[in-house]
Amino acid sequence: MTGDADRMSCAEFQAQLSELIESGEDAATHPHVQGCDRCRALLAELETIAEAARQLFPSVEPPDEVWTQIESAIKREGK
């Protein structure tokens, strides 16, 4: 963590955000975010998108024909 982290601009913080996350740091606890409503809101928006995906995209059942086709192919390959 740099001593100037809490004084960096939003552009500077967001430009290095990807690398920050890659390094394993929790972006939400970064000093800049602690004092910046805008960047805190950005992180919240990204979490909202992730949460929406969890809720809106249920897993889907394949039709029974898929298994029928798999069985037929297995039998053909076994001959």
Partner: protein
């Protein structure tokens, strides 16, 4: 690629081929182990089924299909966005599983290994369709123009409200394949970064960073979709 070949542990409880019938129902049913709850997890019952399937027990293989079919089909469907293609890819993924199951050594969770196999099938299909995807490495490295924009503007408060499913589906479908894959595996399927890193042969940090870029790109797309609505 999935694990290199190694003799599989054969179970002494193998049964003969059970013939053509629908596999037992599995996910979401009270009397079956739920691998859907935690993607990479496997209980001892599934471990036993896996060992029997590795020994050539057709009924056990049918059980594995029943346990994993929803997740594999859903992954294929989200990646290609077409029901008929997703069915073909699911079929191909499980046929490859049938051919290679004896080589699974348990170095990673079975679900992780199966997903990696399915991902390769999907990426092959995307390559056939002419998309510039050759390998997992390339899927993980979208071109600069495919990356999220560097907009440092104020957050769009309209996104903090409800996100429309169709809008999100459209935005996910428009993501570059590598971002789409990471987003589906982590945010939709619930895999952890260490599992995704194992599937895609990348570092955990790379998985985290790619997911962040995917979410940023989705945010860009959702904001872009919102603007015309707001004007009308």
């Amino acid at each position: 690629m999935p694990n290199s070949p190694s003799p599989a542990q054969a179970s002494s409880r193998s049964r003969p081929n059970g013939g053509a019938e629908q596999p037992p129902a599995a996910e979401g049913q009270a009397d079956q182990p739920s691998v859907a709850a935690r993607p990479g997890s496997m209980d001892s019952a599934e471990g036993d089924v896996l060992a029997r399937a590795q020994a050539g027990d057709h009924q056990a293989f049918a059980h594995l299909y029943a346990l994993h079919k929803r997740r594999i089909y859903s992954l294929c469907l989200r990646m290609v966005g077409n029901v008929a293609e997703a069915e073909d890819l699911t079929q191909e993924a499980f046929l490859q599983l049938h051919r290679k199951i004896a080589t699974f050594r348990g170095d990673s969770a079975f679900s992780t290994w199966l997903h990696r196999l399915a991902i390769n099938v999907v990426l092959m299909q995307l390559r056939k369709k002419g998309l510039s995807l050759i390998s997992l490495d390339e899927a993980m490295e979208p071109t600069p123009e495919e990356g999220p924009s560097r907009s440092f503007g104020a957050p769009d408060l309209t996104l903090t409200g409800a996100i429309d499913r169709l809008a999100l589906e459209r935005a996910v479908a428009d993501l570059p394949a590598g971002y789409r894959l990471i987003f589906i595996l982590h945010d939709v399927e619930g895999f952890e970064h260490n599992e995704i890193a194992s599937m895609l042969d990348c570092s955990i940090g790379n998985s985290k960073s790619q997911l962040h870029k995917a979410r940023l790109k989705l945010r860009d797309a959702l904001r872009a979709q919102k603007r015309p609505e707001e004007r009308s």
